[in-house]
Amino acid sequence: MIHSYLYLSIILFCLGIVGVISRRNVFTVFMSIELMLNAANLAFVAFARVHESMDGHVLAMMVMAVAAAEAALALAVVILLHKHKSKLDTNVFSLLKG
């Protein structure tokens, strides 16, 4: 039973990584990051079931709270980007070359 949850969690996490790397839209990238965080939450809750403790549930709650704060900031940045370039494509932003 736990294995199915873990596989799902890992698949979600990998989907998130692929999304961050391959997508060029800022929104999609931030959504992919949220997907990765939620994959971790799923793993936490599944493991909490295995260990029969409530710790994992509490930790998942904490992660959700932080993810919400991060999403708020991400949306503010998206608005800022749109003001500057009227586009949300990460390719447009290439002034800095590391």
Partner: protein
């Protein structure tokens, strides 16, 4: 109980100060100068309290109420002192910087104090989710500070890059914490250590995977080799005082928690030590390569920050899990913080309006018109290059000797080689300042005396830190 409260007091002061500053920013009458003094006051008071708390020994804070989530050790206290000092000097140099650059509001200082509270929490954290939350408190504040100049498209691009990659690293940290929790049944460092001691590290795949993810997140935040690409861009896009703050305070906090995590068990550390060895070597040399090619001073300092991360990784490789004190790491962090903050303090008043002086060539002939400032900058550069009798030399000396004691002679030799290479770009600025004809006069008046005073205080600090081991 009172003792615990005393040890937690710096964090309480900083947290309450940040909230107070944020609330009072709503009043029109609060100018950003007053906010600068307010934040400097918060940092100074917290620093003094932290200093007085250094007398007492190591303690688990509120072991009943907090369930062992926070621990105050001599290492975390030293890191806290460095962070608070960084905050103080950054507040002072920001005050001067914003006389010439007009995009400040009082919230800037509040966010700086919030970032410091996250950093302090990070140094004391002994539990993975606390680490995650502290890391995010710190990072969210820093993201906003990086993009504070909203009209500037470069700083917007910097915050986009930093936020995307930083959140990516944060997701790795949570996933790592989830795996470690799954393997050991707890996210507390003490419980994880007990589990590893009982069952072994290599026997639990989930633990290996989880600690791998956590190390990736730490290496990313510390700007180590495979994850270093963002640093140069983000440091370039941020304003000068924020860059200084990120280079010093943030790095101190990350290395404190990195060391605390790594020493929780000997087999966990030895499992990763080979990889950390290569990461340290690549971090040093890749950082040097990037730094040599830069024309902009800020980008050069960012790249040299990567090199210094490499030296700190040497110290991490050489750290012993038995009776861990972290004194070598804390000493190097203090030495590095003093000289880096000094340079950024100097840049915040030498840079001119809108940071118009940014490349090596812009500082040609500085010694003729500003002899004292040029001398101060030279002291900082020599300290970063590791030339005696500055703090940077003593810091490198301790790191190299600790590496040799731990049997990592190759690493010690490579560290010395890298430090010799790094002279190239540090001396280049000194040559430009002293031996080139001035192209401009640096005529404008310094808008405020705070940043110059801080610069000279930091020069004293550089020498004082180098003398500290001799005196004690």
């Amino acid at each position: 109980m009172t003792n615990d409260l005393m040890l937690l007091m710096p964090l309480i002061i900083v947290g309450a100060g940040a909230i107070l500053l944020m609330l009072s920013s709503a009043y029109q009458k609060l100018t950003h100068e007053m906010a600068a003094y307010g934040s400097a006051l918060v940092f100074a008071v917290a620093f003094l309290v932290q200093l007085s708390a250094c007398i007492t020994g190591n303690a688990v804070l509120f072991s009943g109420a907090f369930n062992g989530l926070l621990v105050a050790s001599s290492f975390s206290k030293a890191a806290g002192l460095i962070i608070l000092a960084c905050g103080f000097f950054t507040a002072m140099s920001s005050h001067t910087y914003f006389k010439q650059n007009d995009f400040c509001s009082p919230e800037y200082y509040s966010l700086m104090v919030f970032a410091a509270s996250g950093m302090l929490l990070l140094t004391m954290a002994q539990e993975l989710i606390t680490v995650f939350i502290a890391l995010e408190i710190m990072s969210l504040a820093i993201y906003i500070l990086v993009g504070y100049d909203r009209k500037n498209v470069i700083s917007t691009e910097a915050v986009l890059k930093y936020l995307m990659l930083g959140a990516f690293a944060g997701a790795f940290l949570t996933m790592g914490a989830a795996f470690v929790y799954g393997a050991t049944g707890s996210t507390k460092f003490v419980k994880i250590a007990q589990y590893v001691a009982a069952h072994g590290f290599m026997q639990t795949p989930a633990l290996i995977g989880g600690s791998f993810f956590i190390l990736v997140a730490f290496l990313f935040k510390a700007a180590a080799f495979p994850f270093h690409a963002w640093v140069v861009d983000v440091y370039d896009g941020a304003s000068v005082p924020v860059t200084g703050y990120m280079a010093t305070g943030l790095k101190t906090a990350i290395f404190a928690v990195f060391a605390n995590f790594l020493v929780l068990d000997a087999s966990l550390q030895s499992g990763w030590i080979t990889y950390l060895f290569y990461i340290a070597v690549f971090t040093m040399f890749v950082g040097n390569l990037i730094a040599i090619g830069q024309q902009s001073l800020k980008r050069m300092l960012a790249a040299s920050g990567i090199v210094h991360t490499g030296y700190l990784l040497i110290a991490l490789v050489a750290v012993s899990t038995k009776d861990f004190t972290g004194s070598v790491i804390a000493y190097y962090l203090a030495a590095y913080a003093a000289s880096t903050l000094g340079i950024f303090c100097a840049l915040s008043y030498l840079g001119g309006a809108g940071e118009k002086r940014s490349t090596f060539d812009d500082f040609k002939g500085l010694a003729k018109s500003r002899p004292y400032s040029a001398a101060a900058v030279s002291v900082f550069l020599l300290s970063m290059a590791g030339i005696p009798p500055t703090a940077g030399f003593m810091g490198k000396f301790y790191i190299i000797t600790s590496a040799i004691e731990a049997g990592q002679v190759t690493l010690a030799v490579l560290g010395i080689v890298s430090s010799i290479i790094s002279m190239w770009y540090y001396l280049r600025l000194i040559i430009n300042m002293y031996f080139c004809e001035a192209e401009e006069q640096f005529g404008e008046a310094v808008p405020s005396n705070l940043a110059p005073i801080c610069t000279f205080v930091l020069v004293v600090c550089v020498f004082a830190i180098s003398l500290y081991p001799v005196v004690i």
